[in-house]
């Protein structure tokens, strides 16, 4: 097999919350090269002041999410040859989140919205009670399991245009998490959670663009979860519960 040759034209966004721009770098082409390899090569050889995040580098942690040629992706799981535009790459920090420095964004509001959506479990029993028997073919368990693999990487949040236009919108990840808990029959905060997701910044703002589903690296579908929340919240409102 012939060794690939030549260089990639890589534009990397540099700057901080006050502003910034793209800097150009030439990176040698390698076989089986990922975007994370490219960013790491730049930081090691060309620009030691470049800031970026990664951890597991094997597609499990979601830390390395960035905008690659305009699309939010896990850079450790994105092969250069799959996304290259001619010979060029454009790498930027995730959209819809404030930038700390270069390719590092501030995830604080993303996590805050997770809490605002009551995206956390409220227990109803203690170790002294019998363990809740939940059959695996229970439809609610199936619905929860389908959405539960979210690792909060914020790719869906970056892809969503409603998040971009409505600064208070809770976003696909937080609402998806809320949906898994609505379907968890051990949880004790159903009414509070439905109220949390049906407010002015809640699930009814979703326009079903489904960019979240297109880009989720875990192949989850927040739009499907949000549709479920819409049904549950609307039914609760019509029934006078919220």
């Amino acid at each position: 097999m012939q060794n690939p040759s030549g260089n990639l034209d890589v534009s990397v966004w540099r700057g901080n919350g006050a502003g910034g721009g793209y800097s150009a770098y030439l990176v040698p082409v390698r076989e089986n090269q990922t975007i994370l390899d490219v960013v790491t090569w730049i930081q090691h050889r060309l620009e030691t002041t470049l800031s970026y995040r990664f951890a597991c580098r094997v597609g499990m942690c979601g830390s390395c999410a960035m905008m690659v040629n305009g699309k939010p992706r896990w850079t450790c799981r994105t092969h250069v040859q799959r996304v290259i535009d001619g010979n060029s790459l454009k790498i930027a920090p995730l959209r819809n989140l404030p930038v700390i420095k270069d390719l590092v964004c501030d995830m604080a509001e993303f996590f805050a919205k997770w809490r605002k959506a009551e995206g956390h479990f409220h227990p109803t029993s203690t170790r002294h009670e019998v363990i809740a028997p939940i059959p695996p073919d229970d439809p609610r368990r199936i619905a929860a399991s389908a959405a539960i693999e979210c690792i909060n990487c914020a790719v869906c949040y970056a892809a969503c245009d409603v998040v971009a236009l409505n600064l208070d919108y809770l976003g696909p990840a937080a609402l998806n998490r809320a949906w898994t808990l609505i379907n968890d029959q051990r949880d004790g905060a159903r009414a509070a959670r439905l109220a949390a997701v049906s407010g002015d910044s809640g699930c009814f703002n979703c326009h079903s663009q489904q960019s979240c589903a297109v880009f989720c690296p875990n192949e989850l579908n927040p739009t499907e979860s949000i549709a479920g929340l819409k049904r549950a919240a609307a039914a609760a409102a019509l029934g006078g519960e919220i």
Binding site: K71, P72, H207, S208, Q209, Q210, S211, V214, F215, A227
Partner: protein, 113 residues
């Protein structure tokens, strides 16, 4: 140029629904005004209706029917998405809504040409 993260069928379906709704909302007052002429100004209404013989007006009418069909069938797609159990065939639904819109507006075009 469409931003890369928007370059997929269901985003275009969303945008088609939004634009068709916006244009219909802008058209509606004009439509109501012209119809309202029937009250005491039947002759004026007839005058307006005679404009429809011009090809460019005919084309605009066909366009409006297309917008109404797009918004209606797209809306039914959304109601299905939100009210019925989730279907994995979302893109197919969008394609069917588009096809029906073309069918209806072609039907209208054939009846006015």
């Amino acid at each position: 140029m469409v931003k890369p993260h928007r370059n997929h069928p269901l985003w275009f379906a969303y945008m088609a629904h939004r634009i068709s709704g916006l244009l219909l909302a802008v058209f509606l007052p004009a439509h109501f005004y012209v119809l309202g002429l029937a009250l005491n100004h039947a002759a004026e209404l007839d005058g307006f209706l005679r404009w429809t013989e011009y090809p460019v007006v005919r084309l605009a009418e066909i366009g409006l029917v297309f917008l109404l069909a797009v918004h209606c069938f797209g809306g039914l797609r959304l109601l299905a998405l939100e009210l019925l159990p989730w279907s994995p065939r979302q893109k197919t639904h969008a394609a069917v809504a588009t096809a029906l819109s073309f069918l209806v507006s072609t039907g209208f075009a054939l009846s006015v040409v």
